[in-house]
Symmetry: C2
Subunit: 221 residues, 2 copies
């Protein structure tokens, strides 16, 4: 009687074991498929290469866009690698840059904004108005920008993509730096490095909130 | 007969097993004691603090040095942390810096040179002669310095300590940057990041070898 009655629980037990094994197999497969964290070092000056295809693809123009007629070679220079990492943003992008005048990087940031990515930019007050600066164009496109009002420079050169990827180094996002200077950029997905930079961004973002701007020196109150 | 004769090899075997176990125990203890790799992010401007004690200790003056009479607090600001990492060098120090005018960091580098650390410096030709630059003092002390002769800037801001620790970021080693700017410095001991920076240093070091300097433009030959 007991032995016969045990058939049902035994079948249920077997089914549960099979389901658990399937879930485990799926988890192992997903774990094996997972992308290893990005850990890349880029050096500049970058070998010049055409980035039009990359930007057209990111803008959704895909293969319908005509090939760029410029004489630059297609290829994966440091600028293209930087653009690719930037364009991988899906939700948020924090940018903290002393100088920003590269048209390609400016277009990428505008493109992400149009795609619905929450873009926030912090920059240096004394450099944001220089000829060629992208800051006015970003503001015109509706992107939030805040700047310092300190004596020192806001000299950081970093960005955080989707709160998971840190892009940082010596490189200001300018054509001069990309094409002519010796520069480095680290691209890392270690939370250990991403978190302090995100915290620094939030600190600066709050401190540079326009409600804190003083338009007159304290002596003039 | 066989059983009696086996006593000697058995004892030797036991002794060897005991020795192996002891070695293993020592290895495990050493492995447990090992220092985890440094992974630190420093932000500037640094809370001002006196670095005289730190530099006196590193110079071997130890506790015999009189306490510094300056009004700055003792403590561990970002500059002190940076100095400590730098002063941990025992064999080699590669420095690749756009601008170098901080007297404290200059003294630390000279101190390492006097201690027998092999110091090599790469810098930017247009910034090395500015007022307050440490480059002339380093050369005067016998430290090897090389500079670019390019149109672009040698804009890196990194150092490698004992081929194991990378110090890199937005910070030029200037008092202005340390005290007034928003800056970041990453200190990491991951070989994955250290190696490409060391390779970049060696590339630049060879390229800036004085035998390659041209003192006249090509048109003037």
């Amino acid at each position: 009687m007991w032995a016969a009655g045990a058939q049902q629980p035994r079948r249920a037990g077997l089914a549960m074991a099979a389901a658990a094994a399937a879930v485990l197999a799926l988890a192992v497969a997903a774990w094996r498929r997972r992308r290893p964290p990005v850990r890349e070092v880029l050096f500049f000056p970058s070998r010049p290469s055409c980035t039009e295809g990359l930007l057209a693809e990111a803008a959704g123009l895909g293969t319908t866009a005509r090939p760029c007629p410029c004489p630059l070679p297609q290829g994966d220079g440091s600028l293209s690698r930087l653009l690719r990492h930037l364009l991988s943003a899906r939700r948020s992008l924090e940018i903290c840059l002393f100088a920003f005048s590269s048209p390609q990087l400016g277009r990428a940031v505008q493109l992400l904004h149009r795609r619905g990515v929450r873009v926030r930019v912090v920059t240096d007050a004394q450099y944001m108005g220089l000829p060629g600066s992208q800051i006015g164009l970003l503001r015109h496109a509706g992107i939030q920008v805040r700047h310092d009002q300190e004596n020192g420079y806001m000299h950081h050169k970093f960005a955080v993509v989707d709160r998971r990827m840190l892009i940082t180094g010596s490189l200001n996002w300018t054509t001069q730096a990309i094409q002519n200077n010796r520069e480095n950029v680290l691209v890392v997905e270690d939370a250990e490095y991403v978190k302090p930079f995100l915290d620094e961004f939030e600190r600066i973002w709050e401190e540079y909130n326009p409600i804190n701007y003083r338009f007159f020196s304290k002596d003039n109150k």
